[in-house]
């Protein structure tokens, strides 16, 4: 009994370490998760993240207005107030204009796809530098499910792997756990686009005999049943044919700038490009 009391910190920590290792092994086989505590944490944090993200947008939008106001000390009070109001309005309009542009691009992109798509806002980024994930403000109550594809007008963003009632987390294509079946658009050579720890991507498992060149665009094959066929993923930046294996690999620069991403589209059910539909008919 005294042994337990004397070593309770060590024993509790050892139990925690063992439990964590078991959790890692259990969740290591699939990127999809359904732990209740995780869903609870996500649900609690989502409104807070949404609020902080809104404040962040507001602050960045009015920052230039504040800087200009500080430089206008010499002018009279009425004029300064007037200038401040006008500049705030201008900044607000500029922000609205930029947002309009992004949403219009999203809408145009949405019209090229046949199926049920949902617009979502990015409200959080990954808490560490090792992984590449996003948090979006849509969850089960909006019809988002695990495994749903997440797209942007520029191309593929990633895949939903954890959903709570009002939020979800997205595994980006650049995460080292991600893998997407892809074609080289020019030659239809097939391979797998995987994320790397350096926030880039790599094209792997392409036969050595296939024609792949720097500058080639990679698109989704649609064979995984998750992403619509023909969605751009990225561009080949370097090719590696070293070694004697059957395959060659290539470095890929993702089409989407994940750091600048503010709105995305989430698929609900099967989505196909409209041009393909028309061809089929």
């Amino acid at each position: 009994m005294s042994f337990l009391r004397r070593n309770r910190v060590f024993l509790t920590s050892a139990f925690g370490l063992a439990l964590a290792a078991i959790l890692v092994v259990q969740t290591g086989h699939t990127p999809a998760r359904s732990d209740r505590l995780g869903r609870f944490f996500l649900e609690v944090m989502a409104p807070l993240q949404r609020s902080v993200a809104a404040v962040e947008r507001m602050v960045s939008g009015s920052w230039h207005g504040v800087a200009d106001l500080l430089s206008a000390r010499g002018e009279n009070v009425a004029l300064r107030a007037r200038v401040r109001l006008l500049e705030q309005e201008l900044d607000r309009l500029a922000e609205v204009g930029l947002e309009n542009g992004r949403l219009r691009a999203l809408l145009d992109f949405r019209e090229t796809l046949q199926g049920d798509l949902l617009t979502a806002r990015v409200v959080g980024r990954d808490a560490s530098d090792v992984s590449r994930t996003l948090t979006i403000d849509r969850g089960e109550s909006d019809g988002v499910t695990r495994g749903a594809a997440v797209l942007a007008p520029q191309g593929v963003v990633g895949q939903v792997f954890l959903v709570s009632r009002h939020a979800a987390r997205v595994l980006l294509v650049s995460d080292h756990n991600s893998g997407i079946d892809a074609f080289v658009q020019r030659t239809r050579a097939r391979g797998i686009v995987q994320g790397t720890v350096d926030a880039g991507c790599a094209l792997k498992y392409v036969k050595r005999t296939e024609d792949v060149q720097v500058g080639d665009t990679l698109v989704t094959s649609g064979l995984d049943g998750i992403f619509p066929k023909g969605m751009p993923i990225g561009r080949v930046t370097a090719i590696d044919k070293r070694g004697q294996g059957l395959f060659q690999s290539a470095d890929v620069a993702p089409r989407v700038d994940f750091d600048q991403l503010e709105e995305v589209l989430v698929t609900r059910g099967t989505v196909v490009p409209i041009e393909r539909e028309a061809e089929a008919k």
């Binding site: 309770r8 910190v9 060590f10 024993l11 509790t12 920590s13 050892a14 925690g16 370490l17 439990l19 964590a20 290792a21 078991i22 959790l23 890692v24 092994v25 259990q26 969740t27 290591g28 990127p31 998760r33 732990d35 505590l37 995780g38 944490f41 996500l42 609690v44 944090m45 807070l48 993240q49 902080v52 993200a53 962040e56 960045s60 409200v123 959080g124 980024r125 990954d126 808490a127 560490s128 530098d129 090792v130 992984s131 994930t133 948090t135 792997f161 954890l162 987390r169 595994l171 995460d175 080292h176 756990n177 720890v197 350096d198 750091d259």
Partner: protein, 163 residues
């Protein structure tokens, strides 16, 4: 109960900083790991079984917002807690340079623990070059913010009437 509330509020604040605020700051190239500093705080100030549980829950909380593997950060932060509380029993680490040094070492230890677990238990590809590239910078960033985090948590506990 009040200790739990203090830790929960600090953890939520730290997570908001790590997932939204730090990412929006243009002059912050590396996101400081505030959750790690909280685990170090527990190791220095709470050398009890509940401190170990707190470190595990902190890690689990991080797992919800980082990567896909559940338990990776829970393992790493519990390991950090265990190491720090062992050192803190013999050395004074409450503030200043000793605190920054222990946080720097804890950050490196955390990366090593996570990579070791990935490589051995989960059978994933090792990410050693990531540790070399980001680990040192991340550890430096965490050690820089550690005194401020300790001051904020101490202030928060005082507001809640805790020693």
């Amino acid at each position: 109960m009040r200790s739990f509330v203090a830790l929960a509020v600090a953890a939520i604040g730290a997570m908001l900083l790590q997932t939204t605020v730090f990412h929006a700051l243009p002059l912050v190239p590396i996101v400081p790991d505030v959750m790690l500093v909280l685990a170090v705080y527990l190791g220095i100030r709470h050398q009890t079984a509940s401190g170990a549980v707190g470190a595990f829950v902190l890690g689990y909380f991080v797992d919800t917002f980082s990567g896909t593997l559940l338990g990776l950060n829970a393992f790493a932060l519990t390991a950090v807690y265990l190491g720090v509380q062992g050192v803190a029993r013999h050395l004074w680490l409450e503030r200043g340079l000793p605190l920054m040094v222990v946080v720097f070492c804890a950050a490196l230890g955390r990366e090593v623990a996570a990579v070791a677990l990935l490589a051995t238990v989960a059978g994933r590809a090792p990410v050693w070059h990531h540790v070399l590239r980001y680990g040192l910078a991340g550890a430096f960033a965490a050690s820089l913010v550690a005194p401020a985090v300790f001051a904020v948590v101490t202030w928060e506990r005082r507001q809640l009437g805790l020693p």
